[in-house]
Amino acid sequence: MDRVPAAARKRALAVLVLTALAMMSAWELYVRTLDSNETTLKAAEVAADRMRKPAEGNARRVFVFGSSRAFRGISPTTVREQLGDVWDVRQIAVPMGNGPAQLHAGMDWFKAGDVAVVECTPLVAYTGLRLDAQSELEQRLQGAGAGRLEKELISVLRQHLAFSRGLYSPGEQLRKLARDTLNPGTPAAVEELPIKPTIIHPDGWQEYTGEFDPSLAIGPLEYLKKTAPADATQAFNGVLWRLRGDVRLLESRGVLVVFLRLPSEGAHAAAEEMLFPRARYWNRLQGEFPGRCWHFADFEATRDLATYDYTHLSSRSALAYSRWLGARLRGFTEEHSP
């Protein structure tokens, strides 16, 4: 260990402390000016908290995993109304979320009697694609398993210091700044597209209250075509391989798992069928988990539900779908009661 004169040590430490404090204060002030409600990271944080919250009393939990199709198309309160008071339905889906990957990340948080509803949006669920909110959710679910004291401490820090919430990082802000400067107005991913008007319900249902608007379909359709691989068979094999293990393990622990395909229509549905033909993807999933895969086109009640942008259920359709889902889950859980 080299000897550093005491004066140099003190000066270096003073520079360290003062510079770090100045940078942290400036960053804190900057972060406080940002609106934290609309970030996709916030969605991941809320979803992770819902997943980790223990069941109250004898309540049985239903976790809804997936993408915006799930949090726009499924109203947990309506599903619960169909299932009964003993049930606690929780929305875990995040923007561009990957249902099967969320199921995998949440493995440690299930208990016997729980039900996992895994919504499969082809582009993400079949290819294994994971964008920011999904990765963030997985990190939060598979994190170090902080102890109680740690959680308390972190909670106090997050209450008082905006930067400690981890929603923004200097690198991420720089990236956005660079992107906005080079390509003004271009979202980096479909999850950043602005969609309004929406009511965000406390149970996690994001109800679209506007009329059918085909212009909203352009962004997601372009993103689908740009991002989808010519052939995702190999990736899908990997997804199936992992699902096989996950479902087997969960069922051995008394957890029921079902898979959903929510409605899509028009040009988006055609593009999805072209890129991810049902025969090559969904039917294989159905073959792996017979009786547990519910495709909207297979049921009269869900076949003709309307969307507001070809991919997300409109308010009325979402309520109808949720009622159908709740009733079907009730029958399914009674049939497979632990």
Partner: protein, 473 residues
Amino acid sequence: MLFTSPVFVLFFLVVLLLSRLPLNWGIRKGMLLLASYVFYASWNPPFVLLLIGSTLVDYFVALRMGRSENQRARKVLLVVSICVNLGVLAAFKYANFLSQSFADFTGMVGWEVSYTTWNIVLPLGISFYTFQTMSYTIDVYRGKLQPTRNLADFALYVTFFPQLVAGPIVRASEFLWQLNEPRRGTPQQVYWGVLLFILGLFKKAFLADAVFAPVADQVYASGATPTALQAWVGTYAFAGQIYCDFSGYSDMAIACALMLGFRLPDNFRGPYGAIGFSDFWRRWHISLSSWLRDYLYIPLGGNRKGRIRTRLNLFITMLLGGLWHGAAWTFVAWGALHGIYLGAERVARRFVPERIARSRFVKALLILLTFHLVCFGWILFRAETFLDAGSLISTMTGLQSATGLELFSRWNMALVLAGVGGLIAVHSLWRERRIEDLSARAGWLVTGAVAAVMLFLALTAGDRGAEFIYFQF
């Protein structure tokens, strides 16, 4: 309790404060021992009993060995110690792997054997403290070390919390003597400890978790097939992640010990600036590679039994080194690959004149070659199955048709390339320099400012709560 968590910072501050109280050295050592057990129990309290059991076995075996003049009895005691240590390791870490491998093997020859998969929780740091206690009994057996009579000292050596769960693997000869005299971090040690801790935190929280991990995970853990370019960048990202994760942990461990007044051995010395593989292993996880050299390679005969035997010994040593990392054939293959690298390097050295290797250009080429071959090994290390590894290698080499996904943005790609390029440049340019030399040359202003920026980036990188990769070993 991760080194990067606020609870650890609180815990460490309390321990540091207690260690500076004007109390008897014995009491302060007792407090350090207690703190170490509390630290370990914060993960899984029952496993403290296993740690205590391992400590007691090796303490009494070594004591008995020290008292005995009978070589045969000493050997029996050594075998007892090794069997207990490796037995515990085998039971907790390798039981499922061994039974599954046995069933797979018998299945291949047409004999179907059913086996049960046990739900075994791997005690944190078991591979590290097992090797540490084994080195103690072996050194006592060899007569290189006198067994300590002080059980509390020995327990503190095994349990000392900065290095307990992920190394460095400290030899008793490097640590026990430090317990003989009262210790408190001197102002010099506290100063360097603070700087080293910030460096480790920066490597772990910013570089490993925020820059490299998101990209590496997309390529290795998402199940999706990337494009060839993204597969390469994902592999570079993992190379950066594993170095920053593990060396960041080591830096923080050494820093904590230093602030308490203890010296732990270096564990990394710019490995991505290595020229060749023997050089790489002198710079990567030094405490493990030197352990394997002293307690496995040399007893096997080292380089004393001819060329072929030397290469075989290298291969066996690296193979077992791979297995030490994890109970999977991919780790064994990774170790074997490094064994082959080391053997091939010895052959190559016979044909390449020394003067050619001295040119700067050739050195730079060799550094890049070594790095890429190391990266090739990391594919086996990170992939969950051989199938995954094979698929990724096919994608990278263009053997698989290019139908992959763009899994991450160009920004992330640029960040990873800059990060890995920076690591290679720093490691190559400062191959023989220590952080202390660099800080002394830079002066107090630059040292303080650079440390402040590192701290800022580490604290604002976002809380991902990711465990250290080497905790699983």
